[in-house]
Amino acid sequence: MNNEIKIAHKGFYLLEYFFILLRSIEKYSEQDKVFGEFKILKKQNFLGESKYKRKFETDEPSKTQQDRYHYTFREVIEEAKTYDLIEQDALSNLRLTVKGLDLLKLIENQGVESFNNYLFTCMEQKHGTFRSIIERLYAKNQYKPGLLIFPNYSPRQLDFERSNVKTVEDIIRYSHALTAKLQEDISSNLGLVKDMSPHNKTLINRLVENKLLPSSPSEDFNPIKYNVIIKRFRDFWMNYFLKEIYGFDIPLTTFDRWIYRGKQIGIIYATEFYPYFSGRIVYPTSVVVSKSASQDFNKLFNYEDGKSLYIHKPKWNDANQDKFVNALVTAYFDLRRTYRSYFINLLAMRELVCYSMKISERLFETFLDEAYKLNLADELKIKISLEVDRLPEETTAMYLKQEPVMVDKKYRNIIAINVTPGDRFDEQAA
């Protein structure tokens, strides 16, 4: 295994950006016009800085926003060129290549999944980044194969009220509580004993050097900088986990981009919303092996050394249906134990089921849809009731943080399950 991770490109953008770029170039060839169309499509498709953070945009983006769009635009062009999807002539005009045209046809005829898979092939051929990340994930946690945790706790989660955090001393108290908690997590999850206090000192010194904190401990810091300071903590420790604990030698932003792309393709799962865990977890939903003995894997890519990347994609057959239903029921009762209501949050349940089965969000949606149809036809051993409480757009929340779940052609966000007595599940449980 090659220890270095091959990197390409800096900007953070997801796979949809390739789609809107190709569409724009299909329509225009002059760069300015392409950029104009790119912006329109970006807005239509709700693509923000990341897909998970949908902002309400004003009609006229500010100068800095414009600059940022332009930067992203150039980045996507550069990356698309390396995959031979587009070409640029001497006058800087843009044109789709045959490959680019094929890709657009693919999304029209076969949908997003095929489009993503095709892009994945281009990327993996060029860089091999996904393979090195996936292999690294498996190498780093022997207890729970592939699972990497990046715990993080805000002051609030450690019982520091924002109104009470005013001086440098307060921040230092938070930093001590945070390091203690992180050390505890490392020990319980990874079986490692780490003394993180020297790193904590480095971080505090850095904050002072950067003028975010005054040098005297009793002094108040600028309250406007509160969020910036807390974000520094978060980034510092994420980086610490990535580099010191897991030995990745790439910047955090690069890691972020590739794992979230991996999530879109369905080969890596990453989430910041795993119930009862504060922070991020990452694990692969694929393997890199020479040959799979199980029918539940689909080959996505062949490497030169004879190994292949297989995505874990169980078929909807009796055995897997049973596994899925059992995972649903387990997750439902796990969540109910603490929430004590019939209806529980479907998105939280999705996190549990995906982790337990090691499947992608998309496959979860497909399976739930199948199970729900069987339930409606009264052919399922449990009763599922899916409802909508309030959808993100019905609330005042401005961000769409998690992908919604669509079942039976409707968005759903709460679920209740009824296990009828004396049925097969009960017998198994007994």
Binding site: V287, V289, S341, M357
Partner: protein, 466 residues
């Protein structure tokens, strides 16, 4: 040796400090598992300890929109929804609210509340869990059970008898110095009539002349009293027996509850009744789409526009408690059955029949805790304090309980138990709460599926072994 003469080496001290005495409390006033059970004798869980101030807004709306409106006006609102605003809304005090609302109405049959405009009674109904109350008829069974439990039939029988006595013996002073219970009990004893030289047969006949009681079926329980040879006074249990032995399971029961009983109540001068339906979601949760629609149709015909006396006069009013997710569960069926037009879940304008059941606030936490403490004080000269809880401690408790009434009570229970055992602790302050939180949360955390303990598929193994 004679055990009656033997003594232990130590005898119990004559005065021992009670566990909660240092806090000026008889015992722990908070419930160890907060839920409402109307039938319990423990006032910590039967809804008796109740701070009305917390739900003042909701109560005022119900008073103004339902209780104070003349029930004789057929245009009065007949269906109201008490809707919880958060969908994980367990333990917000809805059941306690309904139980107290029932008591509040029944205290003087709504006469004082409505300034003598209405005479109404209230019954509290909870559908059975686990889908046993699936059809409208099974709900009607529960409603009738609740009517029996409220003893309103007994009251009605007494009222009818008093009416007749006053009519036939206008100048007799029979009930001086009797309270309501004594009156009810005397009026149902044939001996009492004999002692007072009253022929009960005359009373029974006069009752049956009441204009509201005309057109009742011949086997209606009141008609038992027409038999002059073997005089049988009709009792509440005769109504119960009549209902359970009714030959048909369906239509007859509906006729009885929604027409005949209504006439009976009206004859005793009642002009309305409130059915307080708790945990409504237990019904639709287990219903198929068709069952939901049938249920809505039956409800509509019994309450709004069927041929029943109750529908014609608007005698029964239904107040349903809904969790936030429930309207969507039944909105299709409601629309199909035409209920949506009569009492909409999603009206375009603010509507009186929707009673939002809000979250508690910081101040409510104090009120709630104070109320429970005041019920168990040893020295009752000052009931306004929250000792041993400090104000800061209450803020914390409220916050950590997410302002959920049940969680607040449970946390207060745990803290007080802990403080009682800790030596030298006489106040529960913020520091004590913070320290205890680790333990309290720890309890909860043990039951939580943590990611390091969760079983998940090992893909590498699966790929190699199949």
């Amino acid at each position: 040796m004679n055990k009656l003469l033997r003594k232990p080496l130590q005898s119990a001290p004559t005065e021992m400090m009670g566990k909660f005495e240092k806090f000026n409390l008889i015992e722990n006033p908070f419930p160890s598992s907060p839920y409402v059970n109307q039938d319990s004798t423990d006032q910590r869980i039967n809804g008796k300890v109740y701070e009305i101030e917390i739900r003042k807004k909701e109560l005022e709306q119900i008073e103004n929109v339902f209780l104070k409106k003349s029930q004789l006006n057929p245009n009065h609102l007949r269906l109201g929804y008490i809707i919880d605003e958060s969908y994980i809304g367990r333990g917000n005090g809805k059941s306690a609210f309904l139980v107290n609302l029932q008591q509040y109405i029944n205290e003087d049959y709504c006469l004082d509340i409505s300034n003598n405009i209405n005479k109404c009674f209230a019954v509290y109904v909870v559908p059975e869990a686990g889908g046993r109350t699936k059809t409208f008829l099974s709900l009607v069974d529960l409603i009738f059970e609740a009517i029996l439990k409220s003893n309103v039939i007994e009251s009605c029988l007494a009222i009818l008898r008093i009416q007749s006595i006053n009519q036939l013996y206008p100048n007799r002073q029979l009930f001086e110095n009797m309270n309501e219970e004594e009156m009810i009990s005397k009026l149902s004893e044939i001996e009492w009539y004999k002692q007072n030289q009253i022929d009960y047969n005359d009373i029974a006949n006069a009752i049956l002349l009441n204009p509201f009681l005309q057109g009742l079926p011949a086997d209606f329980p009141l008609y038992r009293e027409r038999n002059r040879l073997f005089l049988n006074m009709t009792m509440q249990k005769d109504f119960e027996g009549y209902y359970t032995q009714m030959p048909g399971r369906g239509r007859e029961r509906l006729d009885f509850v929604f027409s005949h009983l209504v006439q009976f109540f009206q004859s005793a001068e009642f002009n309305g009744a409130f059915i307080l339906l708790d945990d409504f979601e237990r019904i639709p949760e287990f219903q198929s789409a068709r069952q939901k629609r049938d249920f809505a149709l039956e409800l509509r015909s019994c309450i709004f526009d069927g041929l029943y006396t109750s529908a014609k006069t608007g005698f029964y009013n239904l107040l349903m408690v809904l969790h936030a997710g429930v309207p969507r569960l039944i909105s299709d069926a409601w629309a199909e059955a035409g209920m949506e037009n009569r009492a909409s879940f999603t009206p375009r304008t603010t509507s009186n029949h929707l009673i939002p059941f809000g979250k508690l606030s910081r101040e409510h936490t104090t009120l709630l805790v104070k109320k429970y403490l005041s019920e168990y004080r040893i020295d009752t000269s000052n009931l306004q304090g929250t000792e041993p809880f400090s104000e800061d401690a209450l803020s914390r408790i409220g916050e950590w309980s997410e302002y959920n009434a049940a969680k607040i009570l449970k946390m207060a229970y745990d803290l007080l138990e802990k403080a009682a055992l800790a030596e030298g602790v006489t106040t529960i302050d913020e520091a004590f709460v913070s320290e205890a939180k680790g333990v309290l949360v720890g309890d909860l955390e043990r039951s939580i599926p943590k990611i390091e303990n969760v079983d998940s598929t090992d893909l590498l193994k699966k790929a190699s072994e199949g």
